[in-house]
Symmetry: C2
Subunit: 200 residues, 2 copies
């Protein structure tokens, strides 16, 4: 179950990401539908040089259909390389078959799988009282925004938000991290650095 603690949260949309476990770890980019990006996002969100950021939560939202929720406070077996994170995702997708309608299942410590849409995930994040921002190249510079400590960010993989997603996200402010357009995982790294500087 999701305990409603406000944790620094990232919601990453994987538009083509595999929702079945039948992909090969040897080709996360191709067979996994760019799962390589999502694995790097997990790395950027959680990894410090000497440990894991415990106060972070990440939702990987696969094809607006499957949610993988990662909890920094209880995560185990997370290593920085893409392949081992891909294996944790694969395991979660295997365990997904055991879920009953509306349920969420802990696949490995700190990784929860459920069938959820962006709308549902946003509702859950709203409930925790976090202020939600969109990370987007056409946003306001993050250094000029007054970001609270209890905050969530929505960002997309290598593809743009769909029209439907744009509608759902229309009420939130867009932020960008700098003058260049970065990959999703690099964007998360820069955001973490900005927040580290404000809330260290």
């Amino acid at each position: 179950m999701l305990v409603n603690i406000a944790l620094r949260t990232f919601i990453v949309l994987g538009h083509k990401a595999a929702i079945s476990p039948h992909f090969t770890l040897n080709d996360l980019a191709g067979s996994g539908g760019r799962l390589d990006i999502l694995c790097r996002c997990i790395n950027s969100a959680f990894m410090l040089s000497h440990g894991i950021r415990t106060g972070v939560r990440v939702y990987l939202l696969l094809q607006n259909h499957v949610s993988l929720r990662f909890e920094g406070g209880s995560l185990k077996y997370l290593n920085p390389d893409e392949r081992s994170t891909g294996a944790l995702i694969q395991k979660a997708l295997k365990n997904r078959k055991k879920i009953k309608e509306g349920e969420e299942l802990e696949s490995t410590p700190g990784i929860y799988v459920s069938n959820s849409t962006l709308k549902e995930v946003l509702e859950r994040v709203e409930e925790t009282g976090l202020k939600i921002y969109i990370l987007h190249e056409r946003g306001r510079d993050i250094r000029k925004a007054r970001i609270p400590e209890e905050v969530a960010f929505v960002l997309s993989d290598h593809l743009d938000f769909t029209g439907r997603e744009e509608k759902l996200l229309a009420g939130y402010q867009k932020l960008k991290v700098g003058p260049k357009i970065l990959h999703a995982d690099h964007t998360i790294t820069v955001v973490q650095n900005e927040l580290d500087r404000i809330f260290n």
Copy 2:
């Protein structure tokens, strides 16, 4: 041959990184001696959302013995995932056998392999006129330093600099990227963002 153009340069020291091609792409972290870190450093140094940073050069220095020089202006076949970058490194290490003493060989477009030490690489970078900094947790905040556009950064993989390396690097200023100690690849991402903001 190294054309002496001053390019934003990163020199990453891989202390245990494989110098023979006999590692498996399925275990870059273990069999490759944490080559996964170096692959992510390449990604952080070069990758933009819509292309490659052409004005960047990276040296991966493996066991203070083998240098892999990546040139953003001519790089081909570089993808963001670790495994495909690992394959380019493996190919370069295979091609290394063809090098005669003192030579450098272009393994694939934009990737050059040679037998070189840190001392030699530093000499080459000095020749291009770049100001060299060390990226290190006990450095001065990068936002407070006046970094020139023509700049090089030395940083280490998951291990500290050795005593010998510290001696070689003693003359250069140390910079840190924030209050938390980050992985090498995240450090590069943050540095790129800082420089993008200054020199965009």
